[in-house]
């Protein structure tokens, strides 16, 4: 493990230790029932953070294959929540089977072998075309457009967008060969820290809601305070990335804004479906999709902008062994 990775892990551990101490002190000071409930939820969140940070750090250290498998599992669980809340009907059943058990594994297989050309188009082209083809075979025309769109969105958000995170490990960057795990860590840390700091700023001095109909707890104070303080912290982490400090600041600002809008968009979808949380698997947070909502939209943007500005170009050709295998 190189010293920079150690410093990133130590920093994450340090933040969590501080959060746990703060949570403990707050729980001793809470007097009213509502503040006790808030602090209990806060502490549940912090405990879940320990688990999530441990799993994420361990898989990153284990290498790209493990990271790909972790994100494939995350996509599976997120899509499961997404489809469960969407009232899909009988005619969608076979299409959904394909989405969960064929399209998702195949897409992550492409991530695993690093075939960039097929990775970028597999879901937007092949799956996009296949889903209405399979659905039309059922002969059911009721809700046809809505149903196929829901499944296409599910794949785009939960699988395609999420898979750009493990793909960061394969991005060739100038003067940064073999160090991409730190960039993935930087990205996830920035987006999640932004979520946490927006929550902290919002709870302590939030007054004016940003979008009361979509997400009543998001305030201007929380959003601006959270994003600015995250940009500050992430800029100080520039040494772990291929960026200069000012570039790190701009990239952090970009992913915080994308994360903020991503969270809002998924809240809007959730409200459209009449739910408060996507699930109840992660104590204090809700479902998997509640935790990764802001990562979903930020990941493809971060991947492509970093690749465009700092990359040496992804190779779209299939891997050599595949060409050999099909005899070309």
């Amino acid at each position: 493990m190189d010293p920079e990775t150690k410093r990133l892990l130590a920093l994450t551990g340090g933040i969590l230790v501080l959060a746990s101490i703060a949570g403990y002190l707050l729980s001793r000071r809470a007097t009213t029932d509502s503040s006790r409930a808030t602090i209990a939820n806060l502490n549940a969140r912090i405990r879940s953070w320990w688990v999530m940070a441990a799993i994420f750090s361990a898989t990153i250290l284990l290498g790209p294959t493990f990271t790909t498998v972790l994100f494939a599992a995350l996509s599976f669980l997120a899509m499961r929540e997404f489809i469960t809340l969407n009232r899909t009907d009988r005619a969608d059943h076979e299409v959904l089977f394909w989405a969960f058990f064929v399209i998702l594994p195949l897409h992550y297989f492409l991530v695993g072998i690093g075939w960039y050309g097929m990775f970028t188009i597999f879901i937007p082209v092949y799956a996009f075309v296949f889903i209405p083809f399979r659905r039309v075979l059922t002969g059911e025309t009721h809700n046809f457009l809505a149903s196929t769109s829901r499944i296409q969105w599910a794949l785009l958000i939960c699988v395609y967008a999420v898979s750009h995170m493990p793909m960061i490990l394969r991005l060739p960057l100038r003067g940064y060969e073999g160090e991409n795990a730190k960039l993935l860590f930087f990205f996830v840390l920035t987006v999640q820290l932004s979520d946490v700091l927006q929550y902290v700023w919002g709870k302590t001095c939030g007054k004016h809601p940003v979008a009361p109909q979509v997400s009543p707890h998001k305030t201007w104070e929380g959003t601006v305070g959270g994003i600015l303080s995250t940009v500050l912290v992430s800029t100080l982490l520039w040494w772990a990335t291929p960026f200069q400090p000012w570039q790190a600041a701009l990239m952090a600002l970009l992913v915080c804004l994308a994360g903020f809008f991503g969270g809002l968009v998924l809240s809007a979808i959730k409200r459209d479906l009449g739910a408060k949380d996507w699930g109840n698997t992660i104590a204090g947070h809700g479902g998997f999709l509640d935790r990764i909502d802001s990562l979903c939209f930020a990941a493809p943007l971060f991947f492509h902008i970093t690749g465009f500005c700092f990359g040496t170009g992804m190779d779209p050709r299939p891997p050599a062994w595949l060409l050999e295998w099909i005899g070309r």
Binding site: R80, I83, T84, R90, H93, L96, F97, F100, G279
Partner: protein, 198 residues
């Protein structure tokens, strides 16, 4: 073995285990809406460990007794009570077999619709639940509303889709003295459907 199987069922379907029994201790009749082949295993997996050990699902004899494998799964693994659906006589009456299990101190799981629903809606109840309640009016009848099972493994499909299932255990009901069959069955069905019904 059985508790491992139940844990796998919960992991696969996302069903949560009940923290406590919905009724006072003692045998109970769990009745649920029927949408998929997995239904009885889902109710069974959601029960607390001790209760699960003494709970026996009712299963259709014509299906579960048809091959050796099915018979083994139903009778050895789940200790199912096989219920004839056709050619019911006084000697092999389903209520008799279920009542015998209750009298032996077991709880039972049964699906009063008698068959899986085609469209996810709960169908009309057959009379089995009424006869059982009439014989043992003291035993609590626990409505269990299963959600999303018709989307996970619908009738007519062999391919499961991994959605999150839910088993809602409602407030237990009892048959009232002199309650007629249609009134009781309608009340039982309403208790299953509506979370606030008694």
């Amino acid at each position: 073995m059985r508790s491992i199987l139940a844990a796998i069922m919960r992991l696969v379907t996302g069903v949560r285990r009940l923290p406590a029994l919905p009724h006072a201790d003692g045998p109970a009749v769990y009745f649920a809406n029927h949408a998929s082949h997995m239904d009885f295993a889902v109710v069974w997996a959601a029960l607390p460990d001790e209760e699960r050990e003494r709970t026996r699902p009712a299963a259709a004899e014509d299906y579960w007794n048809a091959t050796k494998l099915r018979r083994c799964v139903a009778c050895q693994l789940f200790r199912a009570i096989l219920i004839p659906r056709r050619e019911v006589t006084r000697a092999n009456h389903p209520a008799e077999r279920l009542a015998a299990a209750l009298e032996a101190g077991c709880s039972v799981i049964l699906f009063p619709e008698g068959t899986r629903s085609e469209n996810g809606e709960t169908g009309e109840f057959k009379s089995g639940l009424y006869h059982l309640a009439k014989r043992h009016p003291e035993i609590p009848l626990v409505p269990v509303h299963l959600e999303n099972l018709s989307r996970i493994l619908p009738k007519g499909s062999l391919l499961p889709v991994p959605l999150i299932a839910q088993a809602h255990f409602r407030t237990p009901i009892h048959i009232e003295a002199g309650e007629s069959k249609p009134v009781f069955l309608a009340r039982a069905r309403a208790a299953l459907e509506d979370p606030v019904a008694p």
